[in-house]
C-alpha cells in the first residue's frame, strides 16, 4: 500500500489575479443585483408604471382616444361633490368590514376544526379549497343563477316548503343585493383564511397544549391563552390580505350586479371601471381608483404596527 511513491506535482498553474469581470461575476453584492433584476423589471413595468400613469391621468381630463390636458385637482373636486362616489365609498367599507369579520370567524372555526384528528382529514382539507379554486367569474355566475329573480333555487325551495308565496327579489332589492354579494364574497374568501390559519395552527407545537393541559387549562383556556396569542402574527397577515382583496374586489360584483340596483352594490373599483372604461372618462375613473389608496395604506399600517408590538417574537433564537 505504502510502496507506491507519490510523484511530486510538477506543473502548477500560476496564481492569477481576479479580473474586474471575475469580481462582478462573483461579488455577493453584484450577484444580489443580478438576481433581483428580472423581478425589478417586472415590477417596474407592470406595477410602478401603471400606478404612476394612473396618478397622472387622474390630474388630466383624458378620455378614451384623447390624451387630455392637465386640470389639477378638478377630478377630485368633482368627486367630492358626487353622491354616487360617496355611496360607493360607503358600500366598499360596508362590504369589506362585514365580509372580513365573517370570513375571519368562519375561517378560524374551520381551521380549528380541520386541525383536529378526524377521518378523511386530507380530503376535507382539499375540499375546503374548492371555492378558492373555481374561477371567480364562474362562481359569480353560479351565484347569479342562485339569486336570480325568477329561477332562484332558494326561492323555489322555500316555495316548495311553503314558507313563502312569491319569489324573493334577491338582486333587485337594495338590502338583499348587498347581502347576496357579501355572501358570495365570504363563500369565496373563507378558504384562503381557513387554510392559512390552519398552516399557522400547525406551527404550534403540540407539547405546548400538553403542557397547558397539565397546567390545568380547559380547551377554551388553551385556545384563549395558547392558540390565539401564538396565531396573532398570522392572523394579522392573513386579515390584511383579506381586507385588501375584499376592498379592491371587482369581478364578483361586476358579474353579479354590475353595481345595481340603484348603485347599492357599487364598489369603488366597479364605479371606477364604469366611469373610465364604459363611460370613457379616464381622468375621473383614475381619480376614483386613486381614492382607494389612502384606505389601503391605512389597512397596511394597522397590521404593520400590530405586528411590531409583539416583543416575544424578537430576540435571538438559540436552538
Amino acid at each position: 500500500m505504502a510502496d507506491v511513491a507519490l510523484q511530486p506535482r510538477t506543473a502548477r498553474r500560476p496564481i492569477r489575479e481576479a479580473s474586474r469581470w471575475d469580481l462582478i461575476k462573483a461579488n455577493r453584492n453584484y450577484l444580489g443585483f443580478w438576481f433581483m433584476l428580472p423581478a425589478m423589471v417586472f415590477l417596474v413595468l407592470f406595477l410602478a408604471y401603471p400606478l404612476g400613469l394612473g396618478i397622472w391621468i387622474s390630474f388630466t381630463d383624458a378620455r378614451i382616444g384623447r390624451p387630455g390636458a392637465f386640470v389639477g385637482l378638478e377630478n377630485y373636486e368633482w368627486l367630492w361633490g358626487d353622491s354616487i362616489f360617496w355611496l360607493s365609498v360607503f358600500n366598499t367599507l360596508l362590504y369589506t368590514s362585514v365580509a372580513s369579520v365573517i370570513k375571519f370567524a368562519i375561517g378560524l372555526y374551520l381551521a380549528l376544526l380541520l386541525n383536529e384528528n378526524m377521518p378523511f382529514k386530507a380530503m376535507l382539507r382539499a375540499l375546503v379549497l374548492i371555492p378558492f379554486i373555481v374561477p371567480t367569474v364562474l362562481s359569480a355566475l353560479a351565484f347569479w343563477w342562485i339569486f336570480d329573480s325568477q329561477f332562484s333555487i332558494i326561492s323555489w325551495s322555500l316555495k316548495q316548503m311553503g314558507l313563502i308565496t312569491d319569489n324573493i327579489n334577491f338582486l333587485g332589492d337594495v338590502t338583499w343585493a348587498r347581502i347576496c354579494v357579501i355572501f358570495a364574497n365570504i363563500w369565496r374568501g373563507v378558504p384562503f383564511v381557513a387554510i392559512t390559519l390552519l398552516a399557522g395552527l400547525q406551527t404550534v407545537s403540540p407539547s405546548l397544549y400538553e403542557a397547558a393541559t397539565l397546567d390545568g387549562a380547559t380547551s377554551w383556556q388553551r385556545f384563549r391563552f395558547i392558540t390565539y396569542p401564538l396565531l396573532t402574527p398570522i392572523i394579522a397577515v392573513v386579515m390584511t390580505f383579506s381586507v385588501l382583496f375584499t376592498f379592491t374586489d371587482f369581478q364578483l360584483i361586476w358579474a353579479m350586479t354590475r353595481g345595481g340596483p340603484v348603485n347599492a352594490t357599487h364598489l369603488m373599483a366597479t364605479l371606477s371601471y364604469q366611469r373610465a372604461i364604459i363611460g370613457g372618462v379616464l381622468g375621473e375613473g383614475a381619480a376614483i381608483s386613486n381614492a382607494m389608496i389612502p384606505f389601503l395604506l391605512a389597512a397596511i399600517m394597522v397590521s404593520w404596527f400590530g405586528l411590531q408590538r409583539r416583543k416575544w417574537q424578537q430576540g435571538e433564537n438559540n436552538d
Binding site: S207, A211, L214, D215
Partner: protein, 355 residues
Amino acid sequence: MSSVQIRDVRKSFGNFEVLHGVSIPIEDGEFVVLVGPSGCGKSTLLRMLAGLENITSGTISIGDKVVNNVQPKERDIAMVFQNYALYPHMTVADNMGFSLKLRGAKPEEISTGVKRAAEILALTPLLERYPRQLSGGQRQRVAMGRAIVRDPQVFLFDEPLSNLDAKLRVAMRTEIKELHQRLRTTTVYVTHDQIEAMTMADKIVVMHDGIVEQMGTPLELYDTPANQFVAGFIGSPAMNFLKGKVKSNGIAGFEGPNGVKLPLMSAPANSEGKPAVYGVRPEHFTIADDGAEAEIVVVEPTGSETQVFAKLGGEQVVAVFRERHQFNPGDKIRLKPDPALVHLFDETTGKRLNA
C-alpha cells in the same frame, strides 16, 4: 408528595401492543429513572402516568387513588418536556405562574409562588425575559421552575437534558439531583442515557421492547445484571461478551472463542460443558502473566484512563486501565478478567447464570 403504583399496565396503538404488562412500585419521595433504548415504551409509560395517553389495561395509582380515569389536570403532577414546551409569548414569570393563574390564584399568591421557585433555581434576574432570549440551560431551568411552582405530588421528566450540550448536561444533572434532595418530591425521570440513570436514580427501571428487564438501585444493576440486555446497557464502555462454554478441570473455568481460557470463580450447578456467554466489564481486566493473550488494535487515551481495543481469541474486546501503560497497536498483551467480577449468561435466554 405521594407514592405511585403502576400495576400490569399495557398499552396498544391499534393492534400493536407497545407495553406488555409493566409493574413498577414507586415509593413516596423516590427518584425513579426509566431507562432503555428508544422505542422501549418508557416515554409512553410516562405520558400514561401524566394522563396524556390512555391506559389500555392495568392500573396506575397516585397516592391511594387509581387515576386511570382522572383528567391530567386533576392528577396533581407536573411534567418537564424534552423540548421544554415553554409558552413563547409569555415571560418567564408568566410561564411559571400560568398554572396558578388557571387555578384562579390571586396575583400576590402567584408572584410569591413564582418568586420562591425562581430563587430555588436562580432565575430571579430572568423573570421578565421571554423564552427566546434564554439559553438552553436557562430554558431548562424555567421548565423546572414551572413544575416546582405547582408543588405537585409527582414530578415527571421526559428526557429533559437531551437537547443540551454535554457540559451543560452534566451540570444540570447535578442540579436536578440536588433539587430532588431538597424538595423530596416523588420523581419519575425518563432517559435513554444510562449515565444519567446511574448518577441520578434511587431506583433504575431498565425497559426494553415494552417490558421491564430489571429494577433496582444503580449499583445492583451494575454488579448483578439480571440478564445480558441489562448487562450490556448499563456501564460505559459496554460490557464485553464472549461466547463459549463452561469447562472446569478441577477448578472452575470457561472456554471462550478459539479455545481461549478464561477464569471463573465457581461454575453454576450442572453447567459443565454448557454453552454460555461470558461477560466482563472493560474496567475489570488486568494485565497479568496468566492472562489470555490479546493483540492490541486501537489505543484511546482520555487522560484519566486509557481504553484499549484488542482481539481476544479473535473477538474484539475493550479494556479500560487507569494506570498508564505503554501500549502500541500490534502489541501482544495478557488480559485477565477479575474472576470475582465476571458474569455468566444463558446463551439462548440471556438470563444470568452465576450468583
